[in-house]
């Protein structure tokens, strides 16, 4: 744990493609995974994060620093998170959700998951299949039957373009 001398402790994190990052311990322990390592005294040297690549880890560290610089004000934290995620593409968000899961960062997890869900809303079936690399395993008859189940209902509801 941080010594009481006043100098902030810095940790060194290593991504799975061997990039090294320095980050203040106070920011890094937003990750429960890292906090556990620090508390167990395993954070003396370099902390290897085998499931996160350098590009994603850089992004996560930007988030750690940004959010921990904001005092306890949920509104401001929320608007920081919104801004932080606003320019991320869908694949980057997927990387981040995996990283947040591995690092056990619930606030990032919630924000990224919500953002992914928001992007997915109103998207077409084809879009989802392409993005997730899922093959259509329905027979045409089955697919028609599933569509039939909500036939009465959704006439006139629009979806986004198929792209």
């Amino acid at each position: 744990m941080a010594a009481e001398t006043g100098t902030p402790t810095t940790l060194t994190l290593k991504s799975n493609d061997d990039e090294l990052f320095s980050v203040a311990e106070s920011a890094a322990i937003l990750s429960v995974t890292i906090r556990n390592m620090v508390e167990d005294g395993c954070a003396g040297g370099v902390i290897p994060l085998d499931n996160v690549d350098g590009k994603t880890l850089a992004s996560v560290i930007t988030y750690m620093n940004g959010i921990s610089a904001i005092p306890a004000d949920e509104e401001k934290k929320k608007s920081y998170r919104d801004k932080f995620l606003s320019d991320k593409d869908f694949e980057t968000l997927a990387d981040m959700v995996l990283a947040a899961n591995y690092l056990n960062m619930s606030c990032l997890m919630d924000a990224v998951s919500a953002k992914i869900a928001q992007v997915m809303e109103k998207k077409s079936v084809g879009w989802v299949r392409r993005k997730f690399g899922i093959e259509n395993d329905y027979t045409p008859e089955e697919e028609a039957a599933v569509k039939e189940e909500h036939k009465w209902t959704f006439e006139g509801v629009e979806t986004d373009d198929d792209n």
Binding site: D95, F132, G133, E135, V146
Partner: protein, 380 residues
């Protein structure tokens, strides 16, 4: 923590970016991502993605996870109003489209277009409706647009003009039930709990009921509010051939566990409505000066704990000729309250700005508005 499961198969080898999305473990996808997508999109679009996604979305576990998240999300306020020709749906989420969506009554319904189906209650995204003309019950999920007829065995409805209703899960059994409070011949109040059966299960019968003698109530708002294992209705006691009878304003409470009818005193002797916010009962009444006051009961059942929270002022337009404000929903920051004013109009009130915004005028005096949550809970 989520672990990778063998469910992530279909990965095209030539697509490294797709590979990342496919690497999202199934339980992470389900619990964190799909659970945040509106039920309508899940039901209509995402079920068509693949057999695995359909299984996942239809599974009772997922339906519960989705419901829990949806119920906890107070930024989404959904209101449905049953008018004679259609039900109108509103979502007051920040940034959500303000355009209402209309649900015409289903073709299978024998609903008469000159009257409204009566909304008896709403729970877990299901709305319970009663068609007075042909005495039929149905359960409706607006998010999925599923509508199913139900049966209430030995149903007795004596006074359509003065009744209490509720639809939800019986806290003792977890089953969906319909509760109706009505008056019986003579001088007692009767509260009955009906299991709402599908046609397939119509043989089983069970009704719980409780009477309270020497009492009659006038209910100000028929739809009960659930708190601490009991239902609550705003009412006043009616004279029953007693000399020197004094009218009393009370919250009539029905406790499921004890099967008891209780009375909780209202803070003042004015016609009022009741609601629940942050695990507290609250009431709204127009005082002698025709200003609406909102009071909360800080400690459940303790009369002395009634505390005035705020006035509801409407300015000149305001609520001048309004008798009752039925609370439908609070915004997540508790600044805004959506109310049904005398079943004439649904409005939003801001405590901070002391401002009223009209959301919708009712098409009929019979129309009932209610709030509900987005869910995949089947109407069946």
């Amino acid at each position: 923590m989520a672990t990778t499961t063998e469910e992530n198969r279909n990965i095209p080898a030539d697509s490294p970016r797709c590979e990342i999305l496919s690497r999202i473990p199934a339980d992470l996808l389900r619990d964190e991502i799909l659970s945040r997508i509106p039920a309508t999109d899940l039901f209509r679009i995402f079920r068509l993605v693949s057999r695995q996604w359909r299984r996942l979305i239809s599974s009772p576990e997922f339906i519960q996870i989705h419901l829990k998240r949806s119920t906890a999300d107070e930024t989404q306020i959904r209101i449905i109003i049953a008018d004679p020709t259609a039900m109108t749906y509103y979502n007051y989420a920040p940034g959500a489209t303000k355009d209402p969506r209309f649900y015409p009554y289903p073709p299978s319904s024998s609903h008469r277009y000159d009257s409204c189906p009566i909304i008896l209650g709403s729970c877990d995204g299901l709305i319970c409706l009663y068609e007075g003309a042909n005495q039929r019950f149905s359960v409706f999920n607006p998010s999925m647009n599923r509508y199913e007829l139900r049966l209430a065995d030995k149903f007795r409805w004596l006074f359509l003009t003065n009744y209490a209703s509720w639809f939800g899960r019986n806290p003792c059994t977890g089953e969906y039930v319909l509760v109706i409070g009505s008056r019986l011949q003579g001088s007692h109040v009767d509260i009955r709990v009906y299991e709402l059966k599908t046609h397939a299960a119509r043989k089983s019968r069970s009704i719980i009921h409780q009477k309270k003698h020497g009492r009659d109530y006038k209910y100000f708002d028929p739809v009960g509010k659930f708190l601490h294992g009991a239902l609550h209705w705003a009412a006043c006691t009616q004279p029953m051939n007693e000399p020197h009878f004094e009218k009393k304003h009370v919250i009539v409470a029905y406790d499921f566990g004890k099967n008891e009818i209780l009375e909780i005193p209202a803070p003042r002797e004015f016609p009022f409505t009741v609601g629940v916010v942050d695990e507290c009962l609250f009431v709204i009444f127009g005082n002698a000066a025709q200003v609406f006051e909102l009071w909360t009961m800080r400690e459940y059942g303790v009369k002395e704990s009634w505390t005035k929270y705020a006035n509801i002022e409407g300015g000149t337009e305001g609520f001048k000729y309004t008798q009752l404000l039925v609370p439908l929903a609070f915004s997540s920051d508790r600044d805004e309250l959506i109310v049904d004013a005398d079943r004439k109009k649904v409005v939003k009130y801001s405590f901070k700005e002391k401002k009223i915004t009209l959301l919708k005028n009712h098409d009929s005096r019979e129309s009932i508005a209610i709030s509900y949550v987005d869910s995949l809970v089947p109407a069946k």
